[in-house]
């Protein structure tokens, strides 16, 4: 048997493919054939593989746990949720794994009817039990998901039939569908969750258009098309996601044709991409807004007039035009476009004279303290440069400043560190202002975490009884229109009456694609759907 095996393989073409350089010269024709085959294989794969390059590596692919956009982008291809937002706007919820749903007259019992004949990638059938496992898992404190608090009003998840899920809430929960449409409500295969345990974040199994194949940390994630997908099948046969942290290196990937889609093109390279002839530049509005938060728990920004003064001292138009090369928008609201229920207002004027007058009102002899400014570097578009420009504008109206640039991980850790009994009650209390950004599209989450007194993400120590009352009313208001009106009023107070921050700019997404790549769907929160992309 072994002899036959050797006789066949040692002279066969396979040997050439494996070890061509050990063959004698007379084997040239066979080597050529092998070489042709070897060349053709990657060419073939190349035409079918979508190569997506993003700026940061993934933390985990467990949808219940992750909060980072790069992971959401991968999970969107692998998983489905019960419901989804229609298209790229946060206006209407449509069915996905649930076919339909009803709400009881007392507004506390939701009944979802599920889609039939859906299978997870590992063969496990999708049913009510699977939904219950996924939702109970994220609600379980033992998992420690940072997204757990969104599910707090849910009292129980029950499965009266194989295709029916009933969610009971302890009080009317107008946000339930919005929460179920989030990435962290993705439905995982119960078999895979049980099998992988804590390692599930590296072996995700869903029902989506793409099947997770492999993930080498810092190198790439590979997905393959799911042939049994219940919805519209994905277009590329394979998708590869690669992290390339350096902005200019990402541009090179695009221009040399080693990537099909590249996210976060640096603004100073945008013209180069646009005019280079090898790639196309897509400019898409983003729900990301970058701002300086102001410490409302200690002087000078405990006085609302000082908070208004610094808002008048900044020339945002110049920042957008000069620092961001025009790739940004002057904010018109405390939330960026793409956020639900956004209300717009007149942009803050650039009026240094008025700013000086307000400062003089509060401090007749000028403020003699030093304003401590913190910023991160490289996290948001041109963050450090924008912060330097703001520093210049504050100096212009006579404020002394001290500037500190942080590395992102320690910055976040310091800002959110609990420091009870001191000012804001956070590590942020050591500064007067700090630069941050957020892209959350859910209006309740976005406003509550910054403006509600005592919220764990409220770093400024801001509290306003009017806003408290509005947020409380809105959280149980089942009528969409009046609920959104309440959020609109919160935005008005935060913009005109009592600002808590200096909104600096609304980010735009700069995405580069290789010429001829079509069908990219970009959401406002920077999540990109690539399942419908066609390659040239």
């Amino acid at each position: 048997m072994a002899a036959i095996h050797n006789a066949f393989f040692s002279k066969g073409i396979f040997m050439n493919m494996l070890k061509p350089r050990y063959r004698p010269r007379c084997a040239a024709p066979r080597i050529t054939l092998a070489a042709l085959l070897l060349c053709a294989a990657p060419l073939f794969a190349h035409a079918q593989t979508l190569r997506y390059v993003q700026g940061t590596d993934l933390d985990t692919l467990d949808p219940a746990v992750t909060r980072s956009t790069p992971s959401h982008i991968v999970n969107l291809q692998v998983f489905n949720r019960l419901v989804a937002w229609d298209g790229t706007t946060a206006e209407k919820i449509v069915p996905e794994l649930a076919e339909s749903w009803t709400l009881s007259p007392d507004h506390v019992t939701w009944t979802f009817r599920l889609r039939h004949n859906v299978k997870f990638h590992d063969g496990t059938p999708f049913n009510a039990a699977a939904v219950k496992v996924s939702l109970d898992r994220i609600r379980d404190p033992a998992l420690g998901s940072p997204n757990r608090s969104y599910y707090a009003p849910i009292a129980s998840v029950t499965t009266p039939a194989d295709d029916v899920v009933v969610i009971a809430t302890s009080q009317p929960m107008p946000m339930l569908l919005e929460v179920l449409a989030e990435d962290w409500s993705s439905i995982s295969s119960p078999t895979a969750v049980a099998k992988s345990g804590r390692a599930y974040g590296r072996n995700p199994v869903g029902t989506g258009p793409y099947v997770f194949k492999s993930w080498v940390q810092g190198d790439k994630v590979v997905l393959e098309r799911n042939p049994d997908y219940f919805g519209v099948a994905g277009k590329p046969a394979r998708i590869e996601f690669r992290p390339v942290p350096e902005g200019s290196a990402r541009v090179i990937e695009l221009q040399t044709g080693s990537a099909d889609v590249v996210s976060h093109i640096p603004p100073e390279a945008a013209d180069e991409v646009k005019n280079g002839g090898k790639a196309e530049l897509h400019i898409v509005p983003s729900s990301f807004q970058v701002f300086f938060e102001l410490n409302a728990a200690k002087p000078p920004f405990d006085d609302v007039r000082m908070r208004k003064a610094v808002n008048l001292a900044i020339d945002r138009k110049a920042i957008v035009d000069k620092v961001l090369n025009g790739y940004g928008k002057v904010p018109e609201s405390p939330v960026a476009p793409g956020v639900q229920g956004r209300r717009t207002f007149a942009p803050y004027a650039y009026d240094p004279a008025q700013a000086r007058k307000l400062i003089k009102e509060v401090f007749p002899n000028g403020y003699d303290g030093t304003i401590v400014m913190w910023t991160c570097s490289g996290r948001y578009m041109k963050d450090k440069e924008v912060a330097e420009a703001v520093q210049g504008y504050l100096n212009d109206v006579g404020l002394k400043t001290e500037f500190k640039v942080w590395e992102w991980a320690s910055y976040q850790k310091t800002l959110y560190r609990a420091n009870p009994g001191h000012g804001t009650g956070k590590g942020s209390n050591d500064a007067n202002m700090w630069l941050l950004g957020t892209g959350i599209t859910n209006v309740d989450t976005r406003l509550r975490r910054k403006l509600a007194a005592g919220d764990s993400s409220n770093l400024t120590g801001y509290s306003n009884p009017k806003i408290e009352a509005l947020l409380k009313d809105a959280s149980s208001d089942m009528d969409l229109a009046t609920r959104m009106a309440k959020y609109g009023e919160v935005q008005r107070i935060a913009w005109t009456e009592s600002p808590y921050s200096i909104p600096l700019f609304d980010q735009v997404q700069l995405i580069g694609t290789r010429k001829g790549v079509k069908g990219l769907v970009v959401h406002a929160d920077e999540v990109v759907d690539v399942s419908g992309v066609t390659l040239p």
Partner: protein
Amino acid sequence: MASSILASPIPETPRGRGNFAAYLVRNRRYVALVASGLIIAFILAAIFVPLAFSWEEATRVKLGAALLPPGPGHWLGTDELGRDLVARVLWGARITLVVAVCSVAIALAVGVTTGALCGFYPGTLSGIVMRLTDFMLAFPRTLFAIMIITVAGNSIASLTLAIGISTIPVYARLFYAPVMALKQREFVVASRALGASDLRLLAAHILPNVLSLVIVQATISLAEAILIGSGLSFLGLGPPPPTPEWGVMIAGSRAHIASNPHVILAPGGALFLVILSFNLVGDALRDYVDPRSHAGA
């Protein structure tokens, strides 16, 4: 660089060879002569820059004037936040010079004292101290400096301190052996026999004989200190913005290298010229004080 000096025998103070400039001309080392001129210009610029440009001009953000190309009014153009690059590069020279000189002074003061004392009084304690300096020498200097800055925080002072402390072992090692050797020389032994105190032996007989070594090593250390200082600043460990430190400026203008290369060329060119000059002058100085290179001259 340090190792080549370590290997050379104890140089004697050059006498009767004319001054350094004359030496350079006589030996046709015109490049080193130009380099000396550049260093003098650099030092003068660092001292007198406040007369030409205010600190305001070097740090005040004017977004309307961002990324102007070189031309009248702004001879090197403006940076990404509209600040004049001539003002920034010259103020940067002042910061660079202060950091380099102070850090080398720290290293000299502590390092030479440690090395000389350990060489003069060999024993268990000096053995321990010298093993400790060996340990510090084996540790990467940049990493060592990063550790110090992490503890002391970002500022010009902590940058100076970090470079200074990380340079101490270089001097301690450098002076240990020559002092030990000089101690055995006849003129020192003779002086001791005449009843001279240890302090007098060190100050009057030993230190003057290692002075040339100090000068040469200090020149080279200055170049190294400038390079490490701007390297640390480039990594974000230097003084915070808007301080016009060269490394900080290079880091900030890196993004514009394709569209506006003049922004990175100004601090980059200044850094390149100053370090090259210090190295060239250091080499020439070493030859100047080395008696073997003057055979027949």
